[in-house]
């Protein structure tokens, strides 16, 4: 016997679901199965053209650092996929490798490297490629920063901030330690990166040099006589590898709250209702002349669904709280906000699992040699 869809049966009423089922479908439960309402003659399957017709995006707020927008007419599974992608699959550039030449500050090398990793860098990651395991770092996949800060003896404590990170468009300046240093003076000194051209020469970067997004993130504090000298190599990565590559500090959504007065709430009850709500969802409007008052739902969007308004006797009969199941209020914050301070506790928890910044300590061989030479000359 061939299968016949209920939708093709002529005697099944087509069209609208009864109100209680429509309410269930759009407000309380999300039933995805295509044939869920077939017996009622309602097609629950997804039609792409219908989706295209109903889907809407409304931007509520858009600034450089944050954005709020509504996505209407989309399923939670797909809305959630966008949120997950925003957090963990959108690439950014972040410091991955730190070559420490000297660090006499109180902050340990690995902690310092971790802090550097969390500093957001103001650069378009689309201009760069991923650095894979066998690649040599070059101008297309690595950004090099230099940090050299020193607190001289007799001076007050020095606070090292992120603006001390200086971009090196020509790549690393640290020479690779070889078996025979300086054996062949004619060849170029081998450094930790092999840039074939300066990043400066790319028009995009010469107009806006690469800097940390915020100049005032505290990296470390130096006491008199302490010094930090290092190179930080930033590469492209994704949030799922490490949270430092996440382009957002938060990305979340909530369903649009729907507050409905099931019966007219008047006078004293209206005053009570307005007072009950901690986020001022309700307002009072005057009806008629005799000073009659009536409660209205003025700002349903502000509702946090705290259920305060339906607490107490009989209030559940008067007010209904629902969520609109296909209306998502998205909020996206850029990570460029200072991750090190505002989210440090959050990050500490995460980073304990996944902090494994390769931290290389490099001998200051060249400097030492120079110092030795000077000593030889002096006596």
């Amino acid at each position: 016997m061939s299968r016949v869809s209920a939708l093709d049966m002529p005697d099944v009423p087509k069209g609208q679901l009864p109100p209680h089922l429509e309410l269930q479908r759009t407000r309380t439960e999300n039933i995805q199965y295509s044939g869920a309402y077939a017996s009622m003659g309602v097609d629950n399957s997804l039609r792409l053209d219908q989706f295209c017709k109903n889907f809407r995006v409304e931007v509520v707020r858009l600034t450089e650092d944050e954005m709020e927008f509504d996505m209407i007419g989309i399923d939670p599974s797909i809305a959630n996929a966008f949120r997950r992608i925003l957090i963990s699959e959108v690439p950014t550039m972040a410091i991955e490798k730190v070559l420490i030449a000297n660090n006499t500050s109180v902050i340990q090398d690995e902690v310092l490297a971790h802090r550097l990793g969390l500093i957001p860098i103001k650069v378009d990651p689309r201009k760069f490629e991923y650095l894979s395991e066998n690649d040599t770092p070059n101008e297309k996949n690595t950004i090099v920063f230099k940090l050299h800060a020193q607190c001289k003896r007799g001076q007050p404590r020095l606070t090292v901030k992120s603006d001390e990170l200086k971009w090196l468009p020509n790549g690393s300046e640290f020479p690779v330690a070889t078996e025979t240093p300086g054996a062949d003076p004619t060849t170029r000194v081998k450094t930790y990166t092999s840039f074939s051209q300066s990043q400066d020469s790319v028009p995009h970067f010469s107009n806006n040099p690469i800097v940390p997004k915020h100049p005032d993130i505290i990296i470390s504090k130096l006491g008199p006589g302490q010094e930090i000298e290092l190179e930080a190599h930033a590469v492209k990565g994704m949030g799922k590898t490490h949270a430092k590559w996440s382009p957002v500090s938060t990305a979340w959504y909530r369903m649009l709250p729907e507050v409905i007065l099931l019966e007219e709430v008047k006078d004293e009850k209206a005053e009570q209702l307005v007072k009950k709500c901690p986020v001022n969802v309700f307002d009072i409007e005057d009806v008629g002349k005799a000073g009659k008052k009536r409660a209205t739902v003025a700002r349903p969007r502000a509702c946090t669904l705290c259920r305060e308004c339906i607490r107490g006797e009989d209030w559940e009969k008067r007010v209904a709280l629902r969520r609109v199941k296909d209306h998502f209020i998205y909020r996206v914050d850029r990570a460029d906000l200072d991750r090190l301070s505002s989210r440090s506790s959050f990050f500490r928890r995460r980073s304990s699992i996944c902090s494994s910044l390769p931290c290389l300590r490099m001998r200051r061989r060249k400097k030492k040699e120079e110092a030795e030479k000077e000593k030889e000359i002096v006596p």
Binding site: L46, F51, F55
Partner: protein, 104 residues
């Protein structure tokens, strides 16, 4: 990859390097397809980047149905992308002073 029997109506597809992001969305589009009798997904182990998607159909080959579901998902995402871009452009147009401050 596909683990299955000779029965083309039911198959389990094993996708590597994917997670809930894709699997849950595909499960949704599959569920909306009238040809699907059953579908679901599982992540066998949270440390492995791998999902198994089970598809059972009422007659069509499961692989075809999955392909269609993925295609649908792709088209949906494209539509979301263009709608979103349009919405942002409209917002910027309606408030040109603010838009000046935003790069790109």
């Amino acid at each position: 990859m596909e683990h299955g029997t000779k029965d083309l109506k039911a198959s389990t597809f094993c996708l590597t390097d994917e997670d809930h992001t894709l699997a849950n969305s595909v499960r949704f589009t599959l569920n909306q397809d009238p040809r699907v009798a059953f579908c679901g997904y599982s992540i066998p182990h949270p440390s492995d980047a791998q999902v198994n998607i089970r598809v059972q159909t009422t007659g069509d080959p499961a692989s075809e149905v999955l392909k269609d579901a993925l295609q649908d998902l792709m088209l949906m995402c494209q539509h979301v992308r263009s709608t979103f871009k349009q919405a942002v452009d409209d917002f910027n147009m309606s408030d040109p002073v603010k838009a000046m401050n935003i790069e790109e």
